[in-house]
Symmetry: C2
Subunit: 229 residues, 2 copies
Amino acid sequence: MSQVTQDPAASGSTGAYPATDRTVPTRSRERASWDRELVHSILDESYMCHLGFVRDGAPVVLPTLYGRVGERLYVHGSTGSRPLRGAGADEGLPVCLTVTLVDGLVLARSAFHHSVNYRSVVVHGTAHQVTDPDERALALDAIVEHVVPGRADDSRRANARELAATAVIRLDLEEVSAKARTGGPGDEPEDVALPYWSGVLPVRHSYGDPVPADDLDPAIAVPGYLGKR
Amino acid sequence: MSQVTQDPAASGSTGAYPATDRTVPTRSRERASWDRELVHSILDESYMCHLGFVRDGAPVVLPTLYGRVGERLYVHGSTGSRPLRGAGADEGLPVCLTVTLVDGLVLARSAFHHSVNYRSVVVHGTAHQVTDPDERALALDAIVEHVVPGRADDSRRANARELAATAVIRLDLEEVSAKARTGGPGDEPEDVALPYWSGVLPVRHSYGDPVPADDLDPAIAVPGYLGKR
């Protein structure tokens, strides 16, 4: 049998992102990774990112939802918002998109070795406005599905007026790194005998019971995709 | 009895932050607030911020812990880290520090009106390295206490070698705004009869049972300040 050998880089879904000056950290380098699967898993577990851009020479960081389709991230917003307008220029908008999951608080005997167990992804690149109607529709579905899987088909999709008021920007996953810390505290050997509790306080993210809208028809049950979360 | 009338702005702890070009949003202006108490309550409930700065003309956003002492925020890190080094220059480092708490996912009948209940604070300003030893000690305690109240006195404080390896930067709360969304979905009247569930999925942040370090003396009990969280 013949076999086609895939180039991992060309496949876009295996292997690692290239390390660049911007994606090799100056500190805690042992926590850094460029592994695509790890990057995708962190991006897919969260739905809230912090998007940074430069306005009048100064940094601006805003929280926003995002979706992922393969090697592309999508962010949406009002056509009037400043970063989305900025991404509409031909040259696009240089951005840094960061996603952080906190898994635990690490309490060492020494204040110095206190830390956080976390997983984060930092994406550097240039965001561009998406103008193709099919890609815009795909992106908007991806954002809804990213936050609540199963919801896109169980809601009314945007109409022409709403689409006209919505800007979508795209950021390709090219210059990307993950960073993660796991495990217990890293105390100095001479501190282990100190009389302080030491360990990890796990951080939990969960959902409460769905709260129906005041005007919801009581005959409409909570959908299964909410119960499973 | 005589009474001293305080100037709210001068007291630094009451009233509102001044609205500036950078702290008046272009969209969802009704969600914005400059109220000090609201800003402080959001900053005190979280402990993880996203710090944005500009490097070689491009934005960088990194997650980091912070502490608050009155109208000052403190961030610490390795003396080798790039933003902390940048803040050591005489002119300081222009930053944007953003804190976001997610309270719920808002599911409207229309995809367009899907939203998130959240509270966020955005601080614009210039970060400066703290060199005064007393202020550095105060800041490091504040960061530990911010993450786990009660922990600073129940751990070994930094020694001279650790202090020499730690940079602390300060960001004054001067140009600050909060933004918050609460409540149920805001569907269009013509969408209310659509057959889709609508409401809010509350997001919960909690802690699991503390996990002791492998080398912890079993005689050391879990401290009360962890049990109360």
